[in-house]
């Protein structure tokens, strides 16, 4: 890309530390595929995530969007926030619609990268079949799942991505039950098991990491998958101004491991230098409020969630030691600035 070359020229011979980041960013015309002025809730992380994905992937892309918040808040006819060709069909067929788009561009000899956008309901649950089919047929599509861990568009119901013990309107906390009884589906492993060239998780709290993963995924010819953890202030019950903080806590506690898998093998992780207790993440959200009751059951569930986070840290080897500039505490500062470091 010529933009990247220009940027390299600007910074040639300088170390990253010498670069005036603000000036550099000013000169870097980022592609805005999703314009402002849409109708997302205050603090919606999905809106931010979609903008970041398009910044990194656009503009030679076309989007197949599943039904969900993203579709609803960006396209109230006759308005649209999309600056890329965009198609919404149904809740459960983004993978298949993207497959068709990709097949059409391929047969026409065009180099348009197809992106499929869906939430966790359209990915983990009802749209899982078409996602699996898309990957199995090896379509050249980047499938992005914006994971807000529930059916937020219909009023906060549980999905198979809802974390264990979280309260939703269909997994409410009450005297007999403490929120969702089941574990969050490990979609990444399932996707990765499809001979998957590239599958990764990302978080809105780490935008440069997210962009880097989008660029990596777009460069791969074949199916790629990106799971972006996207807090939903409405559904999670946190202050809309704190979405990024909440997203960051999810990563820092080990609840949401940021990893990359290529052909099913772990090839990249974001280490956690000092893992924080899961309660730091849980206590800022109303959906986990019932776990802080002074009862043996609640305490047991908190221990359970801590164990799940510890398990993530263990299996992905996230516990970094020493002052690694790539680790969680420093990553965003160090990598902010765009393509050169990301």
């Amino acid at each position: 890309m010529s933009e990247n070359e220009d940027r390299s020229a600007d910074t040639a011979g300088t170390s990253p530390d010498d670069v005036a980041v603000a000036a550099l960013r000013h000169r870097q015309p980022r592609f805005q595929g999703l314009a402002g002025g849409h109708r997302a809730c205050l603090g919606c992380a999905q809106a931010l995530a979609a903008r970041l994905v398009l910044e990194a992937a656009g503009p030679e892309v076309a989007v197949a969007n599943a039904t969900g918040c993203l579709e609803v808040f960006t396209t109230p006819w006759p308005e649209s926030a999309w600056r890329v060709p965009w198609l919404h069909s149904l809740f459960e067929n983004a993978g298949a619609v993207a497959s068709g788009m990709e097949a059409a561009f391929k047969v026409q000899g065009r180099t348009v990268k197809v992106l499929a956008f869906a939430g966790d309901g359209g990915t983990f649950d009802i749209g899982f079949q078409s996602l699996s089919g898309m990957i199995e047929r090896h379509h050249d599509v980047l499938y992005v799942c914006y994971d807000n861990e529930g059916y937020m568009n219909t009023g906060v119901q549980r999905s198979s991505s809802t974390p264990h013990a979280a309260a939703t309107t269909t997994s409410p906390a009450g005297r007999a039950r403490l929120g969702k009884r089941h574990l969050k589906k490990d979609i990444l492993s399932i996707v990765a098991a499809h001979h998957m060239p590239y599958a990764a998780t990302a978080s809105v709290a780490y935008p440069s990491d997210l962009r880097k993963k989008v660029r990596r995924a777009v460069a791969v010819e074949g199916p790629t998958f990106l799971l972006i953890h996207s807090p939903c202030p409405l559904g999670w019950g946190h202050d809309g101004a704190k979405s990024i903080e909440v997203a960051r806590l999810a990563v820092e506690t080990g609840m949401v491991p940021l990893v990359e898998l290529e052909r099913g093998e772990l090839t990249g992780t974001m280490p956690i230098r000092t893992a924080r207790p899961v309660t730091d993440y849980l206590k800022v959200q109303a959906r986990f409020r019932h776990l802080f009751a002074d009862t043996p059951e609640a305490r047991q569930e908190l221990e359970h969630l801590q164990a799940l986070a510890d398990h993530n840290i263990e299996i992905y080897g996230l516990r970094g030691a020493g002052a690694d500039p790539r680790d969680t505490a420093g990553t965003d500062t160090v990598r902010r600035g765009g393509a050169r470091w990301a």
């Binding site: 076309a62 060709p85 965009w86 069909s89 298949a96 497959s99 068709g100 059409a104 348009v112 079949q129």
Partner: protein, 408 residues
């Protein structure tokens, strides 16, 4: 060139002549031979297209939706449960005004499971907003498939070509396949003005609030009605090229003097036409065949029925608890016409029940019988059922001319 081809094979060849760029399908009886034959043409290099073998009919419809939206000429085929599984997407394809062609190898719906022919599958999605064309034989199915590709791009409405499963799909017939040159002359390259293109980004399938939804449906309804002219034009132009015309929207055949009409859809019409010679003693009958079911050719139907006393509708789809789907629509179309005939509806040939020549005689006798019910299943054998299930209003007793218990 005239050649003996199985119906499915002929359809596959006809599709290939239309140069689809993306074909996506999931196998289902009795559609399977069509998509198998297309896959083989692709494998042999005889057809250059992206053949997407999907994991379900839902995805087959979704893939062709995406492909056509991205500007490719797209095709799929299905039947029965497959049509139902993709029905959600079929509505979307039509609502988004995406041009593509689907062959429905008509088959009964479960339960009970039947792989054999009737037309409840395509009737189940009659309101999806697709153009629906029903074919009488395999030559017509071939010609209609090619016409469908032109109609779909002229109207930007999806077209469903319905052909009776097994009766047509699995029958060897002598078929005149048009030349590639003729098809190329007839079918201009696809130009979909709303195709997805980064140079001209459009948002398709947006959220529409009540202040716009009515307008969207109004436009869709108008487009379907206006498509009647495109269907007739395609048939006319095809006739100019090949000498074969299929009646446009409604095929009418029979003597001027006829006071009795028999209306049907699909392959039964051939049986009825052949049966006329078998019973020369019966009064003259006008045979009407609905070729287009959507858009519904109400005007043509009224004209064709103007001098009839009775019109018998034979249909292979039953709306349980209501009666005949086509019967109801025919009645609605004739209601208020100056001299509308009495309409008698019969379900026949459900789930692959044979429709013998005898059906013609029974239909004519029913038309001649005074009174008679609104709707009945003509070929049900009541003595096979327990007494409690022999609903008189659904059985043949109310329409039998002699009022006898069992059909002659």
């Amino acid at each position: 060139m005239q050649q003996a081809l199985e119906g499915s094979q002929a359809i596959a060849r006809a599709v290939a002549l239309c140069r689809p760029q993306v074909v996506s399908a999931y196998p289902i009886t009795p559609q399977t031979h069509i998509v198998e034959n297309i896959a083989k043409l692709v494998a042999d290099g005889a057809l250059a297209c992206e053949y997407v073998s999907v994991e379900s009919e839902h995805s087959a419809a979704s893939v062709v939706l995406g492909a056509a939206a991205a500007g490719a000429r797209a095709y799929t085929a299905s039947a029965s449960q497959g049509i139902l599984l993709m029905s959600e997407v079929l509505y979307n394809i039509a609502g988004l005004r995406i041009p593509l062609v689907l062959t429905c190898a008509n088959r009964a719906l479960s339960a009970p499971l039947s792989i054999w022919n009737d037309q409840q599958d395509s009737m189940a999605v009659r309101d999806a907003g697709w153009i629906q064309l029903y074919c009488a034989d395999n030559q017509e199915a071939v010609d209609t498939t090619i016409q469908a590709f032109r109609i779909t791009q002229d109207t930007e409405l999806p077209v469903m070509v319905c052909m009776d499963g097994f009766t047509l799909t699995h029958t060897l017939e002598s078929i005149e396949l048009p030349s590639q040159e003729d098809v190329d002359r007839f079918l201009p390259p696809l130009r979909f003005t709303r195709a997805l293109d980064p140079a001209r980004p459009l948002s398709l399938g947006t959220l529409v609030s009540p202040e716009w939804f009515t307008e969207a449906r109004h436009s869709q309804h108008g487009a379907l009605l206006a498509a009647a002219a495109d269907i007739e034009a395609a048939d006319r132009d095809w006739a100019a090229l090949t000498g074969r015309a299929w009646g446009g929207l409604l095929e009418v055949d029979g003597p001027e003097a006829a006071r009795i009409g028999v209306l049907t859809l699909g392959s039964i019409s051939g049986t009825l036409a052949d049966a006329r010679a078998a019973w020369p003693d019966l009064p003259p009958v006008r045979l009407l065949r609905l070729r287009a079911f959507r858009p519904f050719p109400a005007t043509a139907l009224r004209a064709a029925c103007a001098d009839l006393d009775t019109l018998v509708v034979l249909e292979r789809a039953l709306s349980p608890g209501a009666g005949g789907i086509v019967t109801a629509e025919v009645r609605a179309a004739l209601y208020g016409a100056a001299s509308a005939p009495a309409v008698r509806g019969f379900a026949v040939g459900l789930g692959g029940r044979d429709v013998p020549l005898e059906t013609y005689r029974r239909a004519v006798e029913a038309a001649l019988a005074p009174g008679g019910g609104e709707f009945a299943v003509l070929d049900v054998e009541l003595d096979r059922l327990p007494e409690a299930d022999r609903y008189p209003e659904a059985g043949p007793r109310t329409v039998s001319p002699a009022g006898s218990e069992s059909p002659p």
